[in-house]
């Protein structure tokens, strides 16, 4: 969020930082507004890790917002779950798992939320091929393109 402070913390320290921000009476970040993941695979400037997870927090007590961000490595990216602190983290974390393959350790039900179980890979990773589809129903060969081409050729040069 523009103008609001942000903090980058290490993945190991994240659970403690989040618990402090929520439970300390002076901070009181009781509301997790959003949890987002990002893949920096082809990002122009170097980053501390391939993936990042950011938590957008709001403190009704202070009227303040805070972004907490952690970078994760390309291999087996994982973080401790925040669903014990904010129940709303449950579905956000499932989405981040579904789209980016980031594991949240201790999550009560970490399965895909948008895609189907048969889907292979994680669709929003930058190395997922843009046109790769994984249909559940065998695709029909809908249009006979050669026939269409012949028809349009016949229509444009009537003999």
């Amino acid at each position: 969020m523009a103008g609001s402070p942000a903090a980058v913390v290490s993945a190991g320290a994240l659970a403690g930082v989040l618990a402090f921000l929520k439970d300390d009476p002076e901070t009181g970040f009781a509301f997790l507004m959003d949890l987002a993941a990002a893949d920096y695979l082809k990002f122009p400037s170097p980053r501390p890790g391939r993936f990042a997870v950011s938590y957008q927090l709001y403190s009704p007590k202070l009227g303040a917002r805070l972004c907490v961000k952690a970078y994760l490595p390309a291999e087996n990216p994982s973080l401790p779950t925040a669903s014990g602190l904010w129940a709303g983290a449950d579905w956000f974390e499932r989405e981040a798992w579904d789209m980016y393959g980031i594991r949240f350790e201790g999550h009560p039900n970490l399965k895909r939320i948008l895609m189907y179980e048969e889907f292979e890979g994680h669709a929003l990773r930058k190395d997922y091929p843009l046109g790769r589809m994984q249909p559940l129903v065998p695709m029909r060969d809908a249009i006979d393109y050669e026939k269409v081409r012949q028809q349009s050729r016949r229509a444009s040069n009537p003999s």
Binding site: M115, Y116, L130, G131, Q134, P135, L136, R140
Partner: protein, 157 residues
């Protein structure tokens, strides 16, 4: 001699023609509405544009009571088996209309999620362009579909 007796009291026709006439004016549609095109579908089927005045397109909300499947909106790969099953549940004779560009070709979506046209899953009789199509376009397509039903070989099922 029969013609002299009956004069104008009877009309002669072919079975195909009379079945086509009956079928084109009693289309019961099942709307498979998934996206924003649904608003335009509602506009077209309710009183202002009123597709029912063409003797056609009275919405039924069970595929088993319908003979026209209208696929209105984007269909993704997760939904495709559902669409296929609905199509299979409909009795013959049946027709399918792809309503809007998403149902026709996937529209501007070209990605992991979207079916690039419902004809990848089920056969389609009429494609309606537009994002979303105007009611006039929909009515035009319905009239063309009726023409097509009238002209086709009628299976006795």
């Amino acid at each position: 001699m029969t013609e002299d007796t009956l004069q104008d009291a009877v009309l002669t026709t072919r079975l195909d023609k009379v079945l086509g006439w009956a079928r084109k004016y009693s289309l019961f549609n099942y709307p498979f509405v998934t996206a924003c095109c649904g608003m335009e579908y509602m506009a077209t089927s309710s009183s202002h544009y009123d597709t029912d005045r063409f003797g056609a397109v009275f919405p039924r909300f069970s595929p088993r009571q319908a003979d026209l499947l209208m696929v209105v909106g984007t269909v993704n790969h997760k939904q495709a088996p559902v669409l296929k099953r609905i199509y299979d549940q409909m009795c013959e004779p049946k027709w399918v209309v792809a309503f809007g560009v998403c149902a026709t070709s996937g529209g501007f979506y070209q990605n992991y999620a979207t079916v690039p046209g419902v004809d990848c899953v089920i056969p389609v009789d009429m494609y309606i362009p537009g994002c979303p199509p105007r009611p006039e376009t929909v009515i035009d397509a319905l009239m063309k579909l009726q023409e097509r039903i009238q002209g086709q070989k009628q299976a006795l099922v």
